[in-house]
Structure formats: C-alpha cells, structure tokens
Symmetry: C2
Subunit: 269 residues, 2 copies
C-alpha cells in the first residue's frame, strides 16, 4: 500500500510543511520505501520529481522539502510496491496529455487481475495496476467526450461512474488533476482539511515541527490538503467515507459524490 | 534561439561534466536565459527537471549539476524564447507517451506560422512552435504506424521524411528519444562526439573544469554527446551537415541521413 498527498488552493502556495511530514513516512516513520514522486502544476505546465529511492533518504526529496515551489495543485505519492517492481517507470504520479492539458494521477490500493484492453492512445509504460487504472480512466474519458475538453463537471460525473465499477475489483484511493481542479476518490482511507482565515498554528504528527499559517497567508487564501491519514495532530481533518469522491477547485470543495449520487456544491466565494 | 544537449550511451552514465558547461550558457556565458530542462531515461522510465528560470541561477539546475543521475539517454535544453512566453508549459524538453514508451523532444530554431491541425491525441499544452512540431511528429508517426511500435529504423525513416518537409519552413534542430535510441536532426547547427576507449582528458570551454574520463569509465564504455556547439575545446567534435539526421543507439551512430537519402550503419560492436 502507498500514501497519497494532494493540495489545491486559490493562490500559489508551497507544500513544504505538509511534504515534510509526508516525506518521513517513506521509510522512516512508516514503511512506504519503494519510491516517491510529486507533481506541481504551474498554470498549465507541470513539474514532476520522481525517485525510486525511499523519500526519507532521497536527495531529491530533501531538495523538494527545502525549495518552496509555489503551486495551486500538487499531487504526491510514496510507494509500497504491491504490483510491479521498484523502478522509475512504476513510480507515481503518472502523467499524460489530453485535450491540451497535462493530467496527473496517483493511486493507493490494489486491483488484482485488472487487465483492461489498453492498446490505443493511452498505454502503460510500466507494469503497475495503478498505471493501468490511469490509462483506463483516460481512455474512457476520451471515448466518452471525444476531441474536446468537456469541463470539470462532466469529467467528475464520468470518473465517478468509472470508479463505482473499478472499486468493485479492489482498493481504489486516488488523486487526479489537470491543474484546474483536483479529484479525490476514497475507497478505504483518505482525509482532507480546508485551511482558510482565521489561520492557526498546525503541528506535524510525523516530525517535531509547527507552523503558524497566519504568518504566511492573507485572509483571502484557501488551501485544501488531502492525505491518506492526517498530517497534523491539532487540526480537524475530515475523513472521507468509503465510496465517496470529492472535487476541489481554488481550495474549495465544489462537488461531492457518494456511492449512489453526486451533488454540485454551491460555491460560496 | 536555444541550445541543445543530448547524450546516448551503452552503460548508464552521468552527464554532470557536460551539463556543467551547458548550464553556464543559460544566462552566464551566453544569452539563453528563458528557462531550461533536462530529461533522463532510466530503462523505460523518465525523470524530468523543468524550470522557467535561467539555468545559470536555477537552484534545480545547481542540484542536477551536483547529483549524478546515471542514464543511457538524456536530452537537455536551454531556452531563448522566440515564440511563446517564458513559462513552465513552454519549457523544453516536452514529453508524451505513445506505444507504451515515453517520448522526449527538444528543439532549437524557429518555424514561423507553423499551425498544423492538432485536434487529435497530441495537442500542445503551451504555445511554442516547438511543442507544435513535436505533436505534429507524434501524430504523423501514429497515423503512419497505428497501434504498434514499429521499431527504430522505421521511425528514423519516417521522421527523416517529415523533417525534410518541416525544414523548408524554418530552422529545425532537434533531439528526440524514447530511451532506446536518440535521433538528432540538424538544420543549421549541431555537433557530436563519440567517446570510447582509450578515454582521455576533456576540458570544458565554458568553465575552468577538466575531467579524465579514463578514471571514470571501463574500456567497453561508449558515450555519444550531441550539442549545439562543442562543449570542450581539446577534443574533435563532428559538425553535422545542415539537412542531416543521425540516430544513436548504445552510444553508437547507427543511422545517418542526408537531405536525399539515409543509410543504416553496420554496427561494429
């Protein structure tokens, strides 16, 4: 099993604090030592750092932790291999282009014997179930909507439909983003927090580190952080229900789906 | 205009020495200060570092220069913007997946008014002529060969055909690789060197730095380095002829094309 970390905000924000706690789970405070990766969107561009080494000892992870890259959408992953060897091509997050956007995907879980027909435009490079799931979602979106970007609501509804099918096969927690929005699907474990004014001090669970977000933010800032388990021990994280899916845009939860239906939230900006 | 750097070898090799000279051209010894990027293949996986900052002052470039990532195929680029703003999505090298391989492309030159129909599976994310050229090549390869990877020789021949068309429009120096081979097309300026035993000492042109490759290699190693202009001043670099294209595999030149025809080299391993 693996661990996921996501961030979505209304203003470019660095993820150094959250990543500091997350990084130690890759071989130090937890067992996820089969590689790690992180993708930062900056407008439509994406910057990705991937490393098959454990994040707790990876020089690249150390660099990322100390170098504040500001982004409105981030997806990170630390890996405990279930399917596929430990190698660069099996390291999450995965990335593909569609409709003139880059799409980034990271998965926690295990879909045994999931071998869909992927002989078209989205073929896996490595040999994980996770990359096959990503390619399957991309292929299905493309088959459904053709050449043109259909917008976030239609994508959310379609991925919700696919996820209901796939979650029958096995554990399927994932993060998915094109930089404009971030979708989070929970099959067993995912939790999130939306930080906004008045900002307070947060204290990491996995390291002796606190930060007063009041010093670093303006009253307009809004930052959603999603993780497999809470990263801080003095804030209220919202556990997602198994079978639910949410979408964040500009740091705000804008859509929510259960196993039965999904609703669009009224945005209260 | 921009500068290109490529490497292809028969054993995973770090590019720290060549990158040290190359990096200084991004704003220090030369004017290419509108971003830089580098892609390292490791088997079928690829690790990419992209930064819209000048490479001479980029902390990520400094990290890459000092951290020896071993790879058999590398493509790097420093940018002097001609088309498209300075931004992450316009930073080379560009990457796409096709046939279960990642493909990486970087371009030096300028194709004015090059706006091919790109509404299918390879759409540009940014707004450079370079990314449009890459998408056009990928689309054309896919249209020609369908769902299945056709192998390097057919790809070389087809890209040669496309390049003859495109080079009529403007300057088209590029590097293209899937990790198994590296294609280099020269429209105006590209030069290469193949280092093999007996290895000697090389001295950088752009910085006061020498390295004795005899200390770092075995007698079986073979390393091809391709650059816009020679990176060292005490070795014999082979200038490519305008209109020519070469392919390297395992550090060896295996195919060469002129404006008229292409020949497959007899590999003498």
């Amino acid at each position: 099993m693996c661990q996921l970390l996501g961030m979505n905000c209304n203003t470019p924000t660095d993820i150094c604090f959250s990543f500091t706690g997350f990084q130690t789970r890759g071989g130090l405070t937890d067992i996820h030592s089969d590689g790690w990766g992180i993708a930062f969107f900056e407008n439509k561009g994406v910057r990705q750092f991937l490393d098959p080494q454990p994040s707790s000892t990876s020089p690249i992870a150390e660099f990322v932790r100390n170098y504040p890259i500001k982004s409105k959408a981030v997806i990170a992953h630390i890996r405990k291999a279930t399917q596929g060897v430990v190698s660069l091509e099996n390291t999450h997050p995965f990335q593909r282009e569609m409709w003139g956007y880059y799409w980034v995907f990271a998965h926690n879980g295990n879909l045994e014997n999931f071998n869909p027909d992927l002989t078209g435009f989205f073929q896996p490079v490595g040999n994980t179930d996770s990359e096959r799931i990503f390619c399957y979602i991309m292929q299905s979106l493309r088959n459904e909507f053709g050449d043109k970007y259909p917008g976030s609501d239609k994508i959310f509804a379609h991925i919700h439909k696919i996820s209901l099918e796939l979650a029958k096969i096995g554990e399927l927690n994932f993060l998915f983003s094109n930089g404009e929005f971030l979708i989070s699907h929970c099959s067993t474990r995912l939790t999130y927090i939306v930080r906004k004014a008045p900002f307070t001090t947060a204290r990491l669970k996995d390291q002796d580190l606190s930060v007063d977000f009041g010093d670093l933010t303006t009253s307009q800032d809004r930052v959603a952080v999603i993780a497999t388990t809470p990263l801080t021990d003095n804030e209220s994280w919202q556990d997602m229900n198994p079978g639910s899916m949410v979408m964040f845009k500009n740091g705000e939860l804008v859509a929510e789906a259960t196993t039965h239906a999904w609703t669009k939230k009224v945005v209260t900006t």
